[in-house]
Symmetry: C2
Subunit: 321 residues, 2 copies
Amino acid sequence: MNAPSLIALDWGTTSLRAYLLGADGVALDTRASPAGIMKLPAGGFDQAFDETAGPWLDAHPDLPVIAAGMVGSTQGWVEAPYVEMPTDADALVAGIVTVAAACGATVHIVPGVLERDTLPNVMRGEETQIFGALSSDASLNAKDGALIGLPGTHAKWVFVRDGRIERFYTFMTGETFGALRDHTILGRTMHPTSTLDQAAFLRGVDIARDAGHPGVLATIFSTRTLGLTGQLSAEQQADYLSGLLIGHELRGLNEVLAREQSALTGKTLRLIGNDALCDRYRAALARFGYTYAQTVAHATEHGLNRIAAQAGLITAPVRAS
Amino acid sequence: MNAPSLIALDWGTTSLRAYLLGADGVALDTRASPAGIMKLPAGGFDQAFDETAGPWLDAHPDLPVIAAGMVGSTQGWVEAPYVEMPTDADALVAGIVTVAAACGATVHIVPGVLERDTLPNVMRGEETQIFGALSSDASLNAKDGALIGLPGTHAKWVFVRDGRIERFYTFMTGETFGALRDHTILGRTMHPTSTLDQAAFLRGVDIARDAGHPGVLATIFSTRTLGLTGQLSAEQQADYLSGLLIGHELRGLNEVLAREQSALTGKTLRLIGNDALCDRYRAALARFGYTYAQTVAHATEHGLNRIAAQAGLITAPVRAS
């Protein structure tokens, strides 16, 4: 009844996650590999693909294969040129590029999305998650649109309406946090811990949101000076800095909305990402007055399944869209 | 007539600069050493001091010695506890701590300054440069005060009035630039050059100042996307990022001033720092409408000389204050 119908790959810079999806779009099996595209030797795509999806293809040689993420970038397996904004799922389908794997399978690669603007924006992989979320969460199809946050190395905030991506922003919050922690003076006084210090995190969020400060380049230095003056322990400093940066991200987003006579609190808002990070964002959003930011689960699988269906690779009905 | 009267040390984290000052406060000789306090082995202060100032002391054994900078921090030769705000030169003199060098000299260490606030701020070394500038540039003693910028790893903007430091901000602009360039994706597409691309730099400044963007965590990503879309060459990307960060620093400062019904353009403003960096800041300030930001030369020597005189270590008159 629920036989395997699709091999779906989320193939990014630092990892490869593979899903064996049933006809209902639910994963029957999953595999994770560290074979991100930046870690592969020349010609390494076939080997990584075989190691990850090979057993599934051995058992089901005719399964279609779809992939999204940096695998379609200029450094990827084959380039799937960006689709330009505004983008709907049909545009993504039209932009699919195929590559013939050495094992004989045809891999369908979903293109990323480019927004040409004074400050251009790009995504690869998130567009697929967005259309997965639109398939599975009807509230995102509200008439006045919705806002989807994808926390991470390069956090995205994506405005959707009428089944289309309208515009989006990228915040280098995660990568900036790592660079500041590991490669500036701020890391020298930090003691890493395995648990989140919620109070320190929210203190950072509140500083970013409220104070009459001169911006993030200034507030981050308080990670050090609050330590020097005995107001922030070594164990609290990383979570405080994390709160500062996420707070500045949300403040910046809220300021953009304010210029449009809107606000985070007036939006339908969802998150896509790992649970711990989404929990941080939910806690931070609450400090901005927003308390309904649910996480959309399985957005990646839903998105790959939906695009495969829309491309005619599988016959499964598109879910709830 | 102008015999050596003082050995003055600017001893920071990554370097040691030493001045043999004449009775008029002008350097008769200078020495530079890479022996910053973070580079010394345990007990290394005496050796670094001997190697740098030893020849001067051999020739003039009774010369007084004064030092400012991180040499007075908890990781320094001896801790000179922070003096609290608001601070004048007398408070710095009162906070001087001495250490007996192995060679027999007494080294007088100028304390740093701490501002206790919601976001505390600290400086070590800059306070001495500030009082040097106040000694040599009468316009900084204007009745309504002045603003002194000290670009660098941790840029400072210091409000002075009536011969006192009233308050200051720290921006981690230089260190954040280095961390982003060397340890994030932004550096991967940069080709370093030896000359400043002024147009790329100012483009970054203008983006930070003008656009309806959601803050620095978002604008920095355009370093990459303008490259991806062929609008910014690999050779331009570092200067563009530098312009963005310096632009965000000045924008943040200007926003603080705006909340006080003031603006950069309404201030008496000076810079202290190396010529190339001060040139960048001058060009950036011009985009904010400010065109009179002169560099105060020799602020370090003037400051060390002034504090030594005020402390009675030398009999030289304080210059022009």
